[in-house]
Amino acid sequence: MNAHLDESLVCACQRDDKTAYAELVKRHYRHVFAMCLGMLGNVDDAEDVAQEAMLKGLLKIKKLDKAEQFESWILQIARNLSIDFLRRRKRTKVFGVEQPKQPSQRTGENHDLQQAIRRLPQELRVPLTMYYFDRKNAKTIALKLNISHSGACQKIRAARKQLHELLTERTKHE
Protein backbone atom coordinates (compact mmCIF):
# COMPACT_ATOMS: atom_id res chain seq x y z
CA MET A 1 0.00 0.00 0.00
CA ASN A 2 2.77 2.39 1.02
CA ALA A 3 4.84 1.41 -1.98
CA HIS A 4 1.81 1.95 -4.23
CA LEU A 5 1.28 5.41 -2.79
CA ASP A 6 4.97 6.19 -3.24
CA GLU A 7 4.77 4.95 -6.80
CA SER A 8 1.85 7.27 -7.55
CA LEU A 9 3.61 10.21 -5.95
CA VAL A 10 6.86 9.54 -7.81
CA CYS A 11 4.98 9.30 -11.11
CA ALA A 12 3.26 12.60 -10.32
CA CYS A 13 6.67 14.17 -9.60
CA GLN A 14 7.94 12.89 -12.91
CA ARG A 15 5.05 14.75 -14.53
CA ASP A 16 6.25 17.95 -12.81
CA ASP A 17 3.64 17.90 -10.07
CA LYS A 18 5.57 19.78 -7.41
CA THR A 19 3.13 19.13 -4.59
CA ALA A 20 3.75 15.39 -4.92
CA TYR A 21 7.37 15.69 -3.85
CA ALA A 22 6.34 17.63 -0.75
CA GLU A 23 4.16 14.66 0.13
CA LEU A 24 7.09 12.29 -0.33
CA VAL A 25 9.15 14.49 1.99
CA LYS A 26 6.43 14.30 4.63
CA ARG A 27 6.31 10.51 4.31
CA HIS A 28 10.04 9.82 4.37
CA TYR A 29 11.96 12.70 5.91
CA ARG A 30 11.85 11.19 9.38
CA HIS A 31 13.53 7.98 8.23
CA VAL A 32 16.07 9.83 6.12
CA PHE A 33 16.98 11.95 9.12
CA ALA A 34 17.26 8.87 11.33
CA MET A 35 19.54 7.22 8.79
CA CYS A 36 21.76 10.30 8.67
CA LEU A 37 21.77 10.58 12.45
CA GLY A 38 22.84 6.97 12.75
CA MET A 39 25.53 7.40 10.14
CA LEU A 40 26.89 10.72 11.36
CA GLY A 41 26.20 10.65 15.08
CA ASN A 42 25.50 14.37 15.12
CA VAL A 43 22.11 16.05 14.99
CA ASP A 44 23.21 19.21 13.16
CA ASP A 45 25.16 17.31 10.53
CA ALA A 46 22.30 14.83 10.14
CA GLU A 47 19.87 17.69 9.59
CA ASP A 48 22.08 19.21 6.88
CA VAL A 49 22.74 15.94 5.09
CA ALA A 50 19.10 14.80 5.34
CA GLN A 51 18.00 18.05 3.70
CA GLU A 52 20.65 17.64 1.03
CA ALA A 53 19.40 14.10 0.41
CA MET A 54 15.78 15.22 -0.01
CA LEU A 55 16.84 17.99 -2.41
CA LYS A 56 19.04 15.63 -4.37
CA GLY A 57 16.07 13.27 -4.60
CA LEU A 58 14.02 16.10 -6.09
CA LEU A 59 16.69 16.76 -8.69
CA LYS A 60 17.11 13.11 -9.63
CA ILE A 61 13.57 11.82 -9.36
CA LYS A 62 12.98 11.83 -13.10
CA LYS A 63 15.71 9.25 -13.41
CA LEU A 64 14.13 6.89 -10.88
CA ASP A 65 12.91 3.94 -12.94
CA LYS A 66 11.34 1.86 -10.17
CA ALA A 67 8.98 4.38 -8.66
CA GLU A 68 7.76 1.92 -6.00
CA GLN A 69 11.29 1.76 -4.60
CA PHE A 70 11.45 5.42 -3.67
CA GLU A 71 12.06 4.74 0.01
CA SER A 72 15.10 2.51 -0.44
CA TRP A 73 16.34 4.87 -3.17
CA ILE A 74 16.14 8.00 -1.02
CA LEU A 75 17.68 6.18 1.95
CA GLN A 76 20.54 5.07 -0.29
CA ILE A 77 21.05 8.68 -1.35
CA ALA A 78 21.11 9.68 2.33
CA ARG A 79 23.59 6.93 3.13
CA ASN A 80 25.88 7.88 0.24
CA LEU A 81 25.78 11.55 1.15
CA SER A 82 26.56 10.67 4.77
CA ILE A 83 29.57 8.64 3.64
CA ASP A 84 30.72 11.57 1.51
CA PHE A 85 30.23 13.86 4.47
CA LEU A 86 32.28 11.62 6.76
CA ARG A 87 35.05 11.53 4.20
CA ARG A 88 35.05 15.29 4.03
CA ARG A 89 34.86 15.84 7.74
CA LYS A 90 38.29 16.58 8.99
CA ARG A 91 37.66 16.94 12.65
CA THR A 92 35.78 14.68 15.01
CA LYS A 93 32.59 16.09 16.29
CA VAL A 94 30.85 15.19 19.47
CA PHE A 95 27.54 13.44 19.16
CA GLY A 96 25.47 16.53 19.84
CA VAL A 97 21.90 15.75 20.64
CA GLU A 98 19.63 18.71 21.20
CA GLN A 99 19.20 19.15 24.91
CA PRO A 100 15.81 19.77 26.47
CA LYS A 101 15.24 23.42 27.25
CA GLN A 102 14.58 22.70 30.91
CA PRO A 103 17.61 21.47 32.85
CA SER A 104 17.37 17.74 33.27
CA GLN A 105 18.67 15.65 36.10
CA ARG A 106 19.66 13.16 33.48
CA THR A 107 21.97 15.51 31.58
CA GLY A 108 25.03 13.68 32.88
CA GLU A 109 23.61 10.31 31.99
CA ASN A 110 22.66 11.61 28.55
CA HIS A 111 26.17 12.84 27.98
CA ASP A 112 27.54 9.39 28.85
CA LEU A 113 24.98 7.83 26.57
CA GLN A 114 25.88 10.17 23.70
CA GLN A 115 29.53 9.29 24.07
CA ALA A 116 28.78 5.58 24.18
CA ILE A 117 26.52 5.73 21.12
CA ARG A 118 29.21 7.63 19.27
CA ARG A 119 31.68 4.86 20.05
CA LEU A 120 29.49 2.16 18.59
CA PRO A 121 30.58 0.90 15.18
CA GLN A 122 28.55 2.40 12.37
CA GLU A 123 26.96 -0.90 11.38
CA LEU A 124 25.40 -1.11 14.84
CA ARG A 125 24.81 2.59 15.45
CA VAL A 126 22.62 2.99 12.35
CA PRO A 127 20.10 0.24 13.18
CA LEU A 128 20.07 1.19 16.86
CA THR A 129 19.37 4.84 16.06
CA MET A 130 16.71 3.98 13.51
CA TYR A 131 15.13 1.49 15.90
CA TYR A 132 14.74 3.94 18.74
CA PHE A 133 13.88 6.79 16.41
CA ASP A 134 11.26 4.73 14.64
CA ARG A 135 9.24 3.74 17.68
CA LYS A 136 10.99 0.42 18.15
CA ASN A 137 9.79 -1.40 15.09
CA ALA A 138 12.39 -3.98 14.03
CA LYS A 139 10.43 -5.07 10.97
CA THR A 140 10.40 -1.55 9.59
CA ILE A 141 14.11 -1.16 10.25
CA ALA A 142 14.80 -4.41 8.43
CA LEU A 143 12.91 -3.14 5.39
CA LYS A 144 14.61 0.21 5.42
CA LEU A 145 18.06 -1.29 5.76
CA ASN A 146 17.25 -4.03 3.27
CA ILE A 147 18.16 -6.81 5.69
CA SER A 148 16.18 -9.69 7.18
CA HIS A 149 14.09 -9.26 10.32
CA SER A 150 16.36 -11.60 12.24
CA GLY A 151 19.36 -9.69 10.90
CA ALA A 152 17.89 -6.44 12.18
CA CYS A 153 17.17 -8.00 15.59
CA GLN A 154 20.71 -9.35 15.73
CA LYS A 155 22.18 -5.92 15.07
CA ILE A 156 19.94 -4.21 17.61
CA ARG A 157 20.83 -6.87 20.19
CA ALA A 158 24.56 -6.55 19.51
CA ALA A 159 24.27 -2.77 19.72
CA ARG A 160 22.50 -2.95 23.06
CA LYS A 161 25.04 -5.35 24.53
CA GLN A 162 27.98 -3.34 23.29
CA LEU A 163 26.42 -0.12 24.50
CA HIS A 164 25.99 -1.63 27.96
CA GLU A 165 29.63 -2.68 27.99
CA LEU A 166 30.72 0.81 26.99
CA LEU A 167 28.60 2.41 29.68
CA THR A 168 29.74 -0.08 32.33
CA GLU A 169 33.36 0.36 31.33
CA ARG A 170 33.00 4.10 31.76
CA THR A 171 31.43 3.69 35.20
CA LYS A 172 34.21 1.36 36.28
CA HIS A 173 36.86 3.90 35.25
CA GLU A 174 35.15 6.56 37.30
Partner: protein, 329 residues
Protein backbone atom coordinates in the same frame (compact mmCIF):
# COMPACT_ATOMS: atom_id res chain seq x y z
CA UNK B 1 27.38 -15.13 36.07
CA UNK B 2 27.83 -18.73 34.85
CA UNK B 3 27.79 -20.11 31.30
CA UNK B 4 24.03 -20.46 31.35
CA UNK B 5 23.71 -16.83 32.29
CA UNK B 6 26.17 -15.86 29.57
CA UNK B 7 23.87 -17.55 27.07
CA UNK B 8 20.91 -15.69 28.55
CA UNK B 9 22.45 -12.28 27.80
CA UNK B 10 21.17 -12.23 24.26
CA UNK B 11 17.66 -13.06 25.41
CA UNK B 12 17.78 -10.44 28.15
CA UNK B 13 18.87 -7.84 25.62
CA UNK B 14 16.03 -8.92 23.34
CA UNK B 15 13.52 -8.92 26.18
CA UNK B 16 14.43 -5.43 27.31
CA UNK B 17 14.56 -4.11 23.76
CA UNK B 18 11.20 -5.68 23.00
CA UNK B 19 12.22 -8.09 20.28
CA UNK B 20 12.19 -11.39 22.20
CA UNK B 21 9.67 -13.85 20.83
CA UNK B 22 6.83 -14.92 23.11
CA UNK B 23 8.15 -18.50 23.15
CA UNK B 24 11.25 -17.45 25.04
CA UNK B 25 9.79 -14.87 27.39
CA UNK B 26 8.36 -17.34 29.89
CA UNK B 27 11.52 -19.44 30.07
CA UNK B 28 13.68 -16.37 30.53
CA UNK B 29 11.33 -15.01 33.17
CA UNK B 30 11.79 -18.23 35.18
CA UNK B 31 15.55 -17.83 34.98
CA UNK B 32 15.36 -14.23 36.08
CA UNK B 33 13.29 -15.24 39.11
CA UNK B 34 16.11 -17.55 40.15
CA UNK B 35 19.24 -15.62 39.15
CA UNK B 36 20.07 -12.32 40.87
CA UNK B 37 23.01 -11.61 38.55
CA UNK B 38 20.82 -11.81 35.48
CA UNK B 39 18.15 -9.73 37.21
CA UNK B 40 20.75 -7.00 37.77
CA UNK B 41 21.84 -7.26 34.18
CA UNK B 42 18.24 -7.00 32.98
CA UNK B 43 17.63 -4.05 35.30
CA UNK B 44 20.70 -2.24 33.96
CA UNK B 45 19.65 -2.83 30.37
CA UNK B 46 16.11 -1.72 31.18
CA UNK B 47 17.47 1.49 32.63
CA UNK B 48 19.57 2.05 29.52
CA UNK B 49 16.53 1.34 27.36
CA UNK B 50 14.66 4.10 29.15
CA UNK B 51 17.61 6.43 28.67
CA UNK B 52 17.80 5.60 24.97
CA UNK B 53 14.07 6.10 24.54
CA UNK B 54 14.21 9.46 26.26
CA UNK B 55 17.37 10.44 24.44
CA UNK B 56 15.87 9.88 20.99
CA UNK B 57 12.52 11.32 22.03
CA UNK B 58 14.33 14.57 22.86
CA UNK B 59 16.02 14.49 19.46
CA UNK B 60 12.67 13.78 17.85
CA UNK B 61 11.05 16.84 19.39
CA UNK B 62 12.28 19.03 16.57
CA UNK B 63 11.66 16.63 13.70
CA UNK B 64 8.53 18.48 12.61
CA UNK B 65 10.33 21.82 12.43
CA UNK B 66 13.26 20.19 10.62
CA UNK B 67 10.84 18.68 8.15
CA UNK B 68 9.20 22.07 7.68
CA UNK B 69 12.58 23.58 6.83
CA UNK B 70 13.16 20.84 4.26
CA UNK B 71 9.74 21.48 2.72
CA UNK B 72 10.57 25.16 2.45
CA UNK B 73 13.89 24.29 0.79
CA UNK B 74 12.08 21.96 -1.60
CA UNK B 75 9.59 24.70 -2.46
CA UNK B 76 12.40 27.16 -3.04
CA UNK B 77 14.12 24.62 -5.22
CA UNK B 78 10.92 24.04 -7.22
CA UNK B 79 10.50 27.77 -7.79
CA UNK B 80 14.16 28.02 -8.70
CA UNK B 81 13.80 25.06 -11.07
CA UNK B 82 10.81 26.74 -12.62
CA UNK B 83 12.70 30.01 -13.00
CA UNK B 84 15.73 28.10 -14.24
CA UNK B 85 13.59 26.30 -16.77
CA UNK B 86 12.41 29.68 -17.85
CA UNK B 87 15.96 30.87 -18.16
CA UNK B 88 17.04 27.68 -19.90
CA UNK B 89 14.27 28.07 -22.41
CA UNK B 90 15.29 31.64 -22.86
CA UNK B 91 18.95 30.86 -23.06
CA UNK B 92 18.56 28.14 -25.58
CA UNK B 93 15.50 28.68 -27.55
CA UNK B 94 13.83 31.99 -27.79
CA UNK B 95 13.40 35.71 -27.58
CA UNK B 96 13.28 38.66 -29.92
CA UNK B 97 15.06 41.82 -30.84
CA UNK B 98 13.96 44.64 -28.65
CA UNK B 99 16.71 47.13 -28.18
CA UNK B 100 18.28 48.76 -31.16
CA UNK B 101 21.27 49.84 -29.14
CA UNK B 102 21.99 46.28 -28.09
CA UNK B 103 21.37 45.16 -31.62
CA UNK B 104 23.96 47.57 -32.90
CA UNK B 105 26.56 46.13 -30.54
CA UNK B 106 25.72 42.59 -31.52
CA UNK B 107 25.62 43.29 -35.20
CA UNK B 108 29.10 44.79 -34.91
CA UNK B 109 30.35 41.65 -33.25
CA UNK B 110 28.58 39.49 -35.76
CA UNK B 111 30.06 41.38 -38.63
CA UNK B 112 33.51 40.82 -37.19
CA UNK B 113 32.67 37.15 -36.78
CA UNK B 114 31.44 36.90 -40.31
CA UNK B 115 34.54 38.50 -41.73
CA UNK B 116 36.56 36.08 -39.68
CA UNK B 117 34.55 33.22 -41.04
CA UNK B 118 34.54 34.34 -44.64
CA UNK B 119 38.26 34.94 -44.36
CA UNK B 120 38.83 31.23 -43.72
CA UNK B 121 37.75 30.46 -47.23
CA UNK B 122 34.66 28.34 -46.68
CA UNK B 123 34.00 25.64 -49.23
CA UNK B 124 30.42 25.21 -48.03
CA UNK B 125 27.52 25.31 -50.45
CA UNK B 126 25.73 27.46 -47.89
CA UNK B 127 26.50 31.16 -47.91
CA UNK B 128 26.58 31.76 -44.18
CA UNK B 129 26.53 35.52 -44.39
CA UNK B 130 23.30 35.23 -46.30
CA UNK B 131 21.92 32.79 -43.71
CA UNK B 132 22.67 35.26 -40.93
CA UNK B 133 20.99 38.05 -42.85
CA UNK B 134 17.90 36.00 -43.67
CA UNK B 135 17.27 34.75 -40.15
CA UNK B 136 17.70 38.24 -38.74
CA UNK B 137 15.23 39.61 -41.26
CA UNK B 138 12.73 36.84 -40.52
CA UNK B 139 9.45 38.39 -39.30
CA UNK B 140 8.22 35.55 -37.14
CA UNK B 141 9.59 32.11 -36.31
CA UNK B 142 7.91 28.93 -35.18
CA UNK B 143 9.90 25.93 -34.02
CA UNK B 144 9.84 22.93 -31.76
CA UNK B 145 12.36 22.38 -28.96
CA UNK B 146 13.02 19.22 -27.07
CA UNK B 147 15.32 18.35 -24.24
CA UNK B 148 17.44 15.31 -24.91
CA UNK B 149 19.30 13.14 -22.47
CA UNK B 150 21.88 10.67 -23.73
CA UNK B 151 20.84 8.07 -21.16
CA UNK B 152 17.09 8.24 -21.71
CA UNK B 153 14.72 7.41 -24.49
CA UNK B 154 13.89 9.99 -27.10
CA UNK B 155 10.33 10.90 -26.31
CA UNK B 156 8.60 12.72 -29.14
CA UNK B 157 5.60 13.45 -26.95
CA UNK B 158 7.53 15.83 -24.65
CA UNK B 159 8.33 19.10 -26.37
CA UNK B 160 7.80 22.84 -26.47
CA UNK B 161 6.37 24.81 -29.38
CA UNK B 162 7.92 28.26 -29.64
CA UNK B 163 6.37 31.25 -31.40
CA UNK B 164 8.52 34.37 -31.75
CA UNK B 165 7.61 37.74 -33.19
CA UNK B 166 9.64 40.93 -33.01
CA UNK B 167 7.91 42.02 -29.79
CA UNK B 168 6.47 38.88 -28.21
CA UNK B 169 7.08 35.23 -27.66
CA UNK B 170 4.97 32.35 -26.56
CA UNK B 171 5.99 28.87 -25.48
CA UNK B 172 3.56 25.97 -25.23
CA UNK B 173 5.07 23.03 -23.37
CA UNK B 174 3.69 19.53 -23.77
CA UNK B 175 4.18 16.33 -21.86
CA UNK B 176 2.78 13.17 -23.37
CA UNK B 177 1.17 15.45 -25.94
CA UNK B 178 -0.82 17.27 -23.23
CA UNK B 179 -0.14 20.95 -22.75
CA UNK B 180 1.04 21.64 -19.21
CA UNK B 181 2.62 25.07 -19.36
CA UNK B 182 2.43 28.24 -21.41
CA UNK B 183 4.78 31.19 -21.15
CA UNK B 184 3.96 34.57 -22.65
CA UNK B 185 6.67 37.19 -23.00
CA UNK B 186 5.98 40.80 -23.84
CA UNK B 187 9.21 42.59 -24.63
CA UNK B 188 7.59 45.99 -24.74
CA UNK B 189 6.34 45.84 -21.18
CA UNK B 190 9.10 43.43 -20.06
CA UNK B 191 6.60 41.09 -18.51
CA UNK B 192 6.36 37.34 -18.50
CA UNK B 193 3.27 35.34 -17.61
CA UNK B 194 3.65 31.69 -16.79
CA UNK B 195 0.45 29.64 -16.92
CA UNK B 196 0.52 26.24 -15.23
CA UNK B 197 -2.15 24.01 -16.77
CA UNK B 198 -1.59 20.95 -14.57
CA UNK B 199 -5.00 19.94 -13.18
CA UNK B 200 -3.66 20.05 -9.63
CA UNK B 201 -2.25 23.56 -10.13
CA UNK B 202 -4.34 25.61 -12.56
CA UNK B 203 -2.48 28.78 -11.74
CA UNK B 204 -0.48 31.58 -13.27
CA UNK B 205 2.27 33.91 -12.21
CA UNK B 206 3.13 37.30 -13.64
CA UNK B 207 6.67 38.67 -13.37
CA UNK B 208 8.89 41.31 -14.84
CA UNK B 209 12.27 40.44 -16.27
CA UNK B 210 15.36 42.54 -16.05
CA UNK B 211 17.80 43.83 -18.64
CA UNK B 212 20.19 40.99 -17.94
CA UNK B 213 17.64 38.35 -18.90
CA UNK B 214 16.45 40.42 -21.80
CA UNK B 215 19.97 40.78 -23.09
CA UNK B 216 20.58 37.08 -22.57
CA UNK B 217 17.44 36.30 -24.54
CA UNK B 218 18.45 38.58 -27.30
CA UNK B 219 21.86 37.02 -27.55
CA UNK B 220 20.59 33.48 -27.66
CA UNK B 221 17.39 33.38 -29.65
CA UNK B 222 17.45 31.28 -32.84
CA UNK B 223 17.50 34.40 -34.97
CA UNK B 224 20.80 35.52 -33.51
CA UNK B 225 22.14 32.02 -33.03
CA UNK B 226 23.59 31.76 -36.51
CA UNK B 227 25.66 34.80 -35.76
CA UNK B 228 26.74 33.28 -32.48
CA UNK B 229 28.03 30.21 -34.29
CA UNK B 230 29.90 32.35 -36.75
CA UNK B 231 31.48 34.61 -34.17
CA UNK B 232 32.78 31.60 -32.21
CA UNK B 233 35.54 29.26 -33.25
CA UNK B 234 33.85 26.60 -35.34
CA UNK B 235 34.39 23.96 -37.98
CA UNK B 236 32.42 22.85 -40.98
CA UNK B 237 30.63 19.53 -40.81
CA UNK B 238 29.90 19.16 -44.51
CA UNK B 239 26.63 17.99 -46.04
CA UNK B 240 24.03 15.87 -44.28
CA UNK B 241 20.35 15.12 -44.82
CA UNK B 242 18.29 16.33 -41.87
CA UNK B 243 14.53 15.72 -41.79
CA UNK B 244 14.79 14.85 -45.48
CA UNK B 245 16.45 18.14 -46.33
CA UNK B 246 19.99 18.42 -47.68
CA UNK B 247 21.88 20.61 -45.22
CA UNK B 248 25.30 21.99 -44.49
CA UNK B 249 26.40 22.23 -40.88
CA UNK B 250 28.91 23.87 -38.61
CA UNK B 251 29.92 22.89 -35.10
CA UNK B 252 31.41 24.83 -32.22
CA UNK B 253 32.90 23.83 -28.89
CA UNK B 254 33.91 27.38 -28.07
CA UNK B 255 32.97 28.24 -24.47
CA UNK B 256 32.21 31.77 -25.65
CA UNK B 257 29.11 30.35 -27.30
CA UNK B 258 27.50 30.17 -23.85
CA UNK B 259 26.96 33.51 -22.17
CA UNK B 260 25.72 32.43 -18.82
CA UNK B 261 27.70 34.92 -16.75
CA UNK B 262 30.04 34.47 -13.78
CA UNK B 263 27.40 32.83 -11.57
CA UNK B 264 27.21 29.81 -13.86
CA UNK B 265 30.66 29.29 -15.39
CA UNK B 266 30.62 27.30 -18.61
CA UNK B 267 32.34 23.94 -18.46
CA UNK B 268 31.79 22.63 -21.96
CA UNK B 269 29.88 23.43 -25.15
CA UNK B 270 28.90 21.28 -28.10
CA UNK B 271 26.62 23.00 -30.58
CA UNK B 272 25.73 22.23 -34.19
CA UNK B 273 23.56 24.04 -36.67
CA UNK B 274 22.25 22.51 -39.90
CA UNK B 275 21.07 24.85 -42.65
CA UNK B 276 19.12 23.93 -45.77
CA UNK B 277 21.24 24.24 -48.88
CA UNK B 278 18.11 25.10 -50.85
CA UNK B 279 16.41 27.69 -48.63
CA UNK B 280 19.34 28.97 -46.59
CA UNK B 281 17.34 28.69 -43.36
CA UNK B 282 18.32 26.60 -40.30
CA UNK B 283 16.61 23.20 -40.16
CA UNK B 284 18.01 21.88 -36.92
CA UNK B 285 20.09 23.20 -34.03
CA UNK B 286 21.61 20.92 -31.40
CA UNK B 287 23.06 22.37 -28.23
CA UNK B 288 24.64 20.76 -25.20
CA UNK B 289 26.04 23.08 -22.56
CA UNK B 290 27.49 22.04 -19.21
CA UNK B 291 27.91 24.57 -16.45
CA UNK B 292 29.19 24.62 -12.89
CA UNK B 293 31.49 21.61 -13.32
CA UNK B 294 28.68 19.43 -14.51
CA UNK B 295 26.00 20.46 -12.01
CA UNK B 296 23.93 22.13 -14.73
CA UNK B 297 23.44 20.45 -18.09
CA UNK B 298 21.37 21.98 -20.85
CA UNK B 299 20.72 19.81 -23.84
CA UNK B 300 18.19 20.75 -26.48
CA UNK B 301 17.31 20.07 -30.06
CA UNK B 302 15.48 22.77 -32.01
CA UNK B 303 13.73 21.66 -35.17
CA UNK B 304 10.52 21.89 -37.25
CA UNK B 305 11.39 25.49 -38.03
CA UNK B 306 9.06 27.78 -39.96
CA UNK B 307 10.95 30.94 -40.82
CA UNK B 308 9.67 34.35 -41.84
CA UNK B 309 6.04 33.67 -40.99
CA UNK B 310 3.47 36.30 -40.12
CA UNK B 311 2.23 35.64 -36.60
CA UNK B 312 -1.11 37.07 -35.52
CA UNK B 313 -0.63 39.33 -32.50
CA UNK B 314 -3.68 37.77 -30.87
CA UNK B 315 -1.77 34.56 -30.25
CA UNK B 316 0.42 36.44 -27.77
CA UNK B 317 -2.55 37.60 -25.70
CA UNK B 318 -2.44 35.54 -22.49
CA UNK B 319 -5.32 33.13 -22.44
CA UNK B 320 -5.96 32.38 -18.78
CA UNK B 321 -9.12 30.47 -17.85
CA UNK B 322 -11.19 32.19 -15.13
CA UNK B 323 -10.73 29.36 -12.62
CA UNK B 324 -6.92 29.67 -12.62
CA UNK B 325 -5.41 31.16 -9.47
CA UNK B 326 -3.03 34.10 -9.55
CA UNK B 327 0.05 33.15 -7.51
CA UNK B 328 2.16 36.12 -8.48
CA UNK B 329 4.60 37.25 -5.79
Amino acid sequence: MNNVCENMKDQIADLVTGILSEDHVQKLQQHLDECATCRDYARALKNEDMLLTEFFAVTDVNTASRQERVLQAVNRSCVSKQTNSLLIWRTIMKSTITKLAAAAVIITAITLGLFEFIGTGSSSGVVWAEVARKVQASRGVIYRSREFMPDSRDDESDYTMNYLSSTHSRLDSYKEDQIFKTIYDDYNTKTVILVDHLPSHKSYVKMTFDEKIQQSNFLTNPKSMVQRFLSCEHRELGPKTVEGVLCEGIETTDLAFDRSGPDYPTYSVMARIWVSVETGYPVQIEIEIVRNNGQIRLADVLDQFQWDVELDESMFEPNIPPDYIDISP
